[in-house]
Symmetry: D2
Subunit: 352 residues, 4 copies
Amino acid sequence: MTSAQRKSFGSDNHAGAHPAVLTALAAANIGDATAYGDDPLTEEVTTRLCAEFGAAAAFFVFGGTAANVLGLGLMLRPFEAVICAESAHLNGDECGAAERVLGSKLLTVPAPGGKLTPDLIASQLAGRGNSHRAQPRAVEIAQATEVGTVYTLDELRAISEFCRASDLLLYVDGARLANAAAYLDCTLADLAAHADVLSFGGTKNGAMGAEAVIVMNEPLAAAMPFQRMQLMQLASKMRFLAAQFGALLDGDLWLANARHSNAMAARLADGVAGVPGFRLAHPVEANAVFGVLRRDQVRALQREWNFHVWAGEGAEESVTRWMTAFDTTPADVDAFATAIRATAPLPSQPVF
Amino acid sequence: MTSAQRKSFGSDNHAGAHPAVLTALAAANIGDATAYGDDPLTEEVTTRLCAEFGAAAAFFVFGGTAANVLGLGLMLRPFEAVICAESAHLNGDECGAAERVLGSKLLTVPAPGGKLTPDLIASQLAGRGNSHRAQPRAVEIAQATEVGTVYTLDELRAISEFCRASDLLLYVDGARLANAAAYLDCTLADLAAHADVLSFGGTKNGAMGAEAVIVMNEPLAAAMPFQRMQLMQLASKMRFLAAQFGALLDGDLWLANARHSNAMAARLADGVAGVPGFRLAHPVEANAVFGVLRRDQVRALQREWNFHVWAGEGAEESVTRWMTAFDTTPADVDAFATAIRATAPLPSQPVF
Amino acid sequence: MTSAQRKSFGSDNHAGAHPAVLTALAAANIGDATAYGDDPLTEEVTTRLCAEFGAAAAFFVFGGTAANVLGLGLMLRPFEAVICAESAHLNGDECGAAERVLGSKLLTVPAPGGKLTPDLIASQLAGRGNSHRAQPRAVEIAQATEVGTVYTLDELRAISEFCRASDLLLYVDGARLANAAAYLDCTLADLAAHADVLSFGGTKNGAMGAEAVIVMNEPLAAAMPFQRMQLMQLASKMRFLAAQFGALLDGDLWLANARHSNAMAARLADGVAGVPGFRLAHPVEANAVFGVLRRDQVRALQREWNFHVWAGEGAEESVTRWMTAFDTTPADVDAFATAIRATAPLPSQPVF
Amino acid sequence: MTSAQRKSFGSDNHAGAHPAVLTALAAANIGDATAYGDDPLTEEVTTRLCAEFGAAAAFFVFGGTAANVLGLGLMLRPFEAVICAESAHLNGDECGAAERVLGSKLLTVPAPGGKLTPDLIASQLAGRGNSHRAQPRAVEIAQATEVGTVYTLDELRAISEFCRASDLLLYVDGARLANAAAYLDCTLADLAAHADVLSFGGTKNGAMGAEAVIVMNEPLAAAMPFQRMQLMQLASKMRFLAAQFGALLDGDLWLANARHSNAMAARLADGVAGVPGFRLAHPVEANAVFGVLRRDQVRALQREWNFHVWAGEGAEESVTRWMTAFDTTPADVDAFATAIRATAPLPSQPVF
């Protein structure tokens, strides 16, 4: 399905690591370092992350599912539930990790454009105080969302105010937080101010494999060291997770990477705009383009290009996802756009 | 407690990564790779690992606790228990991960030299068939053990035969399996033949952070892909875990590293042998020396040297642990041995 | 909200125990009995239950949620999921017990009339083999359903055949299985033949508090003794759970109770049929009537009568649930029907 | 192994229910009652229990394991551990329920006479603050203990003061709390004053099957309604659990039952005192006698009498347990004592 010659639009984690990350790993490799995070580099990068976010504490973990589960785990007892979009990665793509590891129920709600709203959240509160119902305690949103949309700061504020007024804690899945900040042209602290706990994804931003859990609500942080060990997320050679984030923070590489991948997605959307019969399934805000393609287009394109069918696999028309990464080039984008244009319009339709 | 100038004897994970591992990471970084392990490098290294072990399947995970929990997780339902040494890392150093994640009880037994025997295992079988007791189903041993001892192949065979005859499955925590193979001068397959599932530790052997779960008993492997995702151990950029093991397998680097660290431990033990009043707490077989020191010696040495007090913290005499790594040099060892010798004999004893 | 003078239509568990159950408890109270089910009465009643269902094994537990969780627990590993109706008691009324206790995800699907179909089940199978998705392994249906409807034997057969063909196990929540059998005029074995595991509810049928888990698929039964103890459902004085089921089996009291409560629901539906503006939300098949009432009717009636607002609490119109029990009398029904009729039509509407 | 003609000394739960309990169940059976505890009888008996214990809240559950797990569940996050005696019922007889349901590790310590002391508790605190260790948070003791001994009020005070000074919560397994109060001639409130949460066992005291979780530390109670439902311990016809405790509280029946069973144990111990070669394994304080018997005695006696071999099954000498209940008569005791005396002395020893 993929071609070695073609840049993958399958996922932003098909990309490798940014060269600066490799350089930072090599630099961090000199000499000994006490294990499990009790080393100067981990301390330094953690401090920088906290400053960047205005956070009480930051903790490195191995992956995005872990960040979500451990972040939510700071907030929940097992009879407490998480309100989230039906389309949330947490709900549909983590093999039931939250349910198994936390014991908590997810209260899912269909969310247009992948975004929760105060009203959608409110719709899940009916069971409060009823011992037969899992008790809503946390709200989970993704920024950017699974479909590449971004909550505006006003939308975030409305949700966080609703949560505070409703005795709900807010967790933000920030696997692509950098892309959201780049799109909104705001700081990470601007985004974080609305959350109790959030994740900051390194992996899709150019790291080799590293995520951070950022705790804004200080008392929630105390459980993390023990929870992280018990849930198998404490790196022994922690300096190598810290080094990756150090590289992303240096000179705001995280922002440059995010801006670039967002720009590539926008270029791709532009490149296919106006193609007869083509339409976007979602607005292009972060580094994803969701384009609706006919079955014959999907088949033709997937012979050479790597991308996912997001919805409607095998149907006459399906929603396909094209992700860009920090290392996607304009030439990659233009070649893909050209290929897409070449599949339209339908051969059987008159083109004049 | 540590000194930047002095090689740490605190742990084999205080060392960084072997240069060949960094080189392999850089090589793996070229181009795109499908995520979550569906890439050629992961396939290749997995195949090589299976060949090395004579295994049915191999899976990469992030850390040693995860390897233990996921390995045991292939064998157990929550009402089934694990028989292990009281001194097992699984029991004392993983923050209750097995209990929480698997729901399983550990049936612990004091084990001289950190080693279980068929008799010790048999002592834990009384509750079989009694619904009030967690049901013994798996046996967990570490090779090498927490105290640096190594099961001989005969000892392993006796345990595995007992397990098979007793309807018990055998899991081997191989965080330092390389050191055991080096000590016994046997292959990894020789060790693995006795296990149903085992781990193969990369991190302490020179990797940056990577462990493998090796499945010998084929039907047990089917659950792993799902379990690994649900338990937050599926790397998105998997090629970078694979690359580390690729480097360790190339030219048997794993073996060279293990032989070297074992040799450094032996040199250290030799270096302090015969010091008046000094004794070893355990035989030196893998890459650890457990030396009994007086409180004043511990205090004096820890001003410059990094090592752990293993037992008897603060007591008149305590057991201390000195670990060597792939990058410990003879000069490091000799300097440390000299320092230890300088603290002995007791100041109050006549030295002539 | 309730009146001591009025029979409750709030739930079939507002009723007490059938007198025969009390008599059986007194009879079982004579002399000693070995604890935890190792007594002759438990053996005898278990044997009778197995004969009645054509079952491999039967186990008593304390409550309906426990029956569901333990029944499903025989089928599932934590990464395996349960397909069920969104309206399932398991999903909405058990405080997330399945998720917490089993670690399993529920894959919920909107089900008209509370009933799953092969097509609805099939709609949840897309993620099979994808490690990012909890793996569908069991299907859960309720017989009768939460909304008082009953699967026909043909519907059950279609589901069970689909399950077998699709490598899915079928669990039937039989909290009101007796009512379903009475409605269909079939045997318990006719119903059970389609299930791998099912529950048989005693409590709503006239017991004081006892449910049975019936295992049709023999190999699944082996784990139950241990699971039941570990999940806190092993009664020490088990004879008193057995005695309750003994009383229900004697002379088919379970069937008489179910027929009676079904008849009372039918009588109630008849009693309000034709009231201007009134309609049923669901067909009346078991012992529940779901009637749509205006807000003013609900308020007026709940001053004297106990029933639940099922959906639309506080709205202009809401769905209300009226349950009948083994001890509901025709006079109770007629009085309630008269009261309902007296609240209709709308005061503001001309009645002539 | 048992004889229908002989009173069982196998367990205090081999006895049936006290007649007053049956009478109370019949009285509670009149009319309807709202389910799940929202009924007047549950409210009344709960209030009486709280008054008796000086408690903040009381909750009924089905069994003793559930009481322990749910009581501890109010105190613990999964990375927090319970310090308990190795001989605790929680550790050895509940099939790993605490580990599975709470995810928590048990830190067990050999406890002479089944009793913890501040020193024994202190021995388990070394790992505090170390993220590799499950964090000690609760202490669990049984009153009376598994071996029939009773903590004095001074011993309880010492433990509770140590716990408060050490930031540990104290849970008391009171499956036989009534026997302890009877032995100490103190009130239930005297015992409860030292605990944060405790259980009060009805079943072994003459109930049919009912236990109460008593919460002294008020903030801990808030989670119970949800936890009880999620953990499958919420009775739908709750009035029948309440009624059992109502009967035990009426006229202090609980105390009379406990005094009687204690007296029967004392009488039994007296009845075998002075038998040549016989000795007690533990002092007789509550309603258990632990007598050391030779293998031939065990075999001879178990032909007619029901009692457990507690330790040393099959050995030359073993510790046997003889339990008395509220309905054990002096004649039962005397017959058993006579039988025991008849098996001694050793046939090979001269008797004159």
